[in-house]
């Protein structure tokens, strides 16, 4: 309650307030302001294996995708509220399809999709139904050979990567006989077929063609079989753990590098491994000397490449995740960056993003990407080799446009 002696003051203040509220300035600009534009909500789903046997590769994918999205968010896209969700595809196609159902909604315009071939094969019909493009680093050749125009691969497909691997063995190492060791999974079989075709084309004999199952620990029987074939070079198409196991046991058999024996060794047989070997986490399992005779193919090797674009990506990746990036991370980063570029150019729906990916050209950190008409975007490969003194390889050979895409 207002005290009686202050009542006149309060009354005056109220009157002034009423007058002030009733006063309107002279009409200078009468045009009403347009309502603030409501930003278009755009979702990108990141559905990759964060658990299970491909979790290492899946985490690289996840980190690459998230880095690209965080950078895009920080820079801002006019008129767009960019959002993303990360879901675990797990180990089985069932888990992956459940994650797809959960993560892909009306506002989803692209999916950063699993590296695991069986996941991708399960995603393809779902992506066609939902009309969202899948951007992935899966190497399984079949995913772009099924005539489903919703998948884009930002890592060299087997026909590209394996051709580079075979060329390095045949041309740089002058191998006439090779022993081929592959995983008995879809990934291993896909690469094995591409390698066998490449070696046939190059006139190199596959003296031993050995398959091994995931989970096998003692690889000495495999080493014995490979040695019996007397190859000039070993060619591996294995997942990360088995690759490290094989290199270790090959070195222990005295045919590779080994403690105290860095550099070329008389009687040593070099190994040209698949992309799993270039991952820093794989090299970390081995002593530097055990890596002495080892090379690997990959789409890009950010930990080993000093080119400015790759180095900038590697610096940002290390700052964000306190770890070393690999080729899968840079491939997925470039894939999502190309999706973001499409959004900046006005794409607001899945089909619009798909068209931009199918027709566009993107100079990414790891490579320049363009579709071959089937969704294969990466056409370059590099060979990295270890010198036996450190776990960081150097880029030994670059193969550009391996498959001759126009």
């Amino acid at each position: 309650m207002v005290p009686a002696r202050r009542f006149p003051l309060a009354l005056a203040a109220t009157a002034l307030a009423l007058i002030a509220s009733a006063w309107t300035p002279p009409a200078v600009a009468t045009t009403p302001l347009p309502p603030a534009p409501v930003p278009t909500v755009i979702d990108i789903a990141v559905i990759v294996p964060i658990t299970g046997p491909l979790a290492l590769e899946g985490m690289s994918q996840r980190n690459g995708a998230v880095l690209a999205l965080e950078q895009a968010k920080a820079q801002g896209i006019p008129g767009v509220d960019l959002r993303w969700t990360v879901l675990d595809a797990g180990a089985s196609p069932e888990t992956a399809t459940n994650a797809f159902a959960k993560g892909v909604g009306r506002s989803t315009i692209a999916v950063a999709a699993s590296i695991f071939g069986p996941h991708m094969l399960a995603f393809l019909p779902l992506a066609a139904e939902a009309q969202v493009p899948l951007v992935t680093v899966s190497g399984t050749a079949r995913i772009t050979e099924m005539g489903i125009p919703w998948v884009f691969r930002f890592f060299p497909a087997d026909p590209t990567a394996k051709l580079a691997q075979a060329r390095y063995a045949a041309q740089a190492l002058a191998a006439k006989r090779v022993a081929l060791v592959s995983q008995s999974t879809a990934y291993g079989q896909s690469g094995r077929q591409a390698l066998a075709a490449a070696f046939a084309g190059l006139g190199v004999a596959v003296a031993a063609d050995i398959e091994l199952a995931l989970g096998l620990r003692d690889l000495s029987p495999i080493v014995a079989q490979a040695l019996a074939a007397q190859p000039d070079a070993l060619v591996l198409q294995l997942h990360a753990g088995p690759t490290a196991l094989f290199v270790k046991q090959w070195a222990a058999a005295g045919r590779g590098g080994g403690p105290g024996r860095p550099g070329p060794v008389a009687g040593a047989v070099p190994i040209i491994a698949g992309s799993a070997m270039h991952q820093p986490a794989t090299a970390a399992l081995l002593e530097p000397a055990e890596l002495a005779q080892v090379c690997a193919e990959t789409g890009a090797a950010p930990a080993a490449d000093a080119s400015p674009a790759v180095a900038a990506f590697a610096r940002d990746y290390r700052a964000a995740f306190a770890g070393e990036p690999d080729g899968f991370a840079v491939g997925q980063y470039d894939a999502v960056s190309m999706v973001v570029a499409a959004i900046r150019s006005g794409a607001r729906t899945g089909p619009a993003v798909r068209d931009a990916l199918a027709r566009g050209r993107h100079a990414g950190a790891g490579a320049t990407y363009r579709s071959d008409g089937r969704g294969n975007m990466a056409h370059d490969a590099v060979i990295v080799c270890y010198d036996g003194r450190s776990r960081t390889p150097t880029v030994t050979m670059r193969y550009e446009n391996v498959a001759g895409v126009p």
Partner: protein
């Protein structure tokens, strides 16, 4: 690669499998239930060894692996004892299937906890022996250059298997363990604390699994999620040797490793695996009690 190297590697792997299988049978006999977490306990031992080795290697030098053996064994023993007290003993009055489910749940929780703690990448554990003169990875024995780590693995596992045999066959605790396994009701009636002995069995089984994990982690690395595969190996070893028979589990594990290596070298590893399971099926048909027979005739 010569035959002695293959034999040394098979023996080393078989001996590590035998430690896992031995622990499996100890628990089976103690509580009459399959411990489905045994493989994940082995993985836990491997991760613990790899993590401790990263910190302790500068101080312990080339003997890090051997020095960490008792540490890993004690830590895993405590974990095994806790599993029995918290997840298995409260279900003692329930049908055995409840204990099975409890150990499956514990195994899954362990698997995900390990993946969360140590990440998805494989890790390498400490070597048991330092490299030889000039950094050579081999040990010349009887004119053959054998892999040093394989020889060390087989030797350590062999000593432990002998120690467990002596404990069970010639100690007061071992006799009480065997009595409780053979007839738990009568054992309780004569005052043998079957509950405490079950806890002891879990602790011993987990310690053996942890040591196996350490032994495997250097040569074969360790990765979250591989516990199920180890568990299957232990299960088959127990089935081959005779359900519940301790010596049978050891023999079964050694046979599995020898079979995988021999057939793998002669033909291919996938064929070796397929043939192994085919042989197990045949054995179950013609001799369901296993090679040594079931000691108490109470298959779980």
């Amino acid at each position: 690669m010569d035959l002695p190297v293959l034999i040394a590697n098979a023996l080393a792997l078989g001996a590590a499998y035998a430690l896992v299988a031995l622990g499996f049978v100890l628990v089976l006999n103690a509580v009459g239930a399959v411990n489905f977490a045994q493989g994940d306990l082995c993985v836990a031992g491997g991760f613990l060894a790899a993590a401790l080795a990263q910190r302790a290697a500068p101080a312990l030098g080339p003997w890090t692996g051997l020095a960490l053996l008792p540490v890993v064994a004690l830590a895993l023993a405590a974990l095994g004892w806790a599993i029995e007290r918290l997840a298995v003993r409260p279900l003692a009055a329930r049908p055995p299937v409840a204990a099975y489910i409890a150990t499956i749940a514990v195994g899954l929780m362990l698997e995900h906890a390990l993946a969360g703690l140590f990440g998805a990448a494989p890790l390498g554990g400490p070597a048991l022996l330092p490299p030889g003169p000039g950094g050579t990875p081999t040990l010349t024995t009887l004119g053959h250059a054998l892999p040093r780590q394989s020889v060390a693995m087989a030797a350590v596992a062999g000593v432990l298997l002998l120690a467990v045999h002596l404990l069970l066959a010639h100690s007061w605790t071992g006799r009480r363990l065997r009595a409780a396994a053979q007839d738990p009701e009568t054992a309780r009636a004569v005052g043998i604390p079957a509950g405490h002995l079950a806890g002891l069995s879990f602790a011993l089984a987990a310690a053996l699994a942890g040591i196996a994990g350490l032994l495997l982690s250097h040569q074969y690395f360790v990765v979250a999620g591989e516990g199920a595969g180890l568990m299957v190996k232990a299960y088959i070893a127990a089935t081959l040797g005779g359900w519940g028979r301790i010596g049978g589990a050891v023999i079964g594990a050694l046979l599995i490793a020898a079979f995988e290596t021999a057939v793998g070298a002669a033909a291919s590893p996938p064929l070796a695996e397929a043939l192994l399971y085919a042989c197990v099926l045949v054995l179950l048909l013609v001799r369901p009690q296993g090679l040594l027979g079931e000691p108490y005739g109470r298959r779980a």
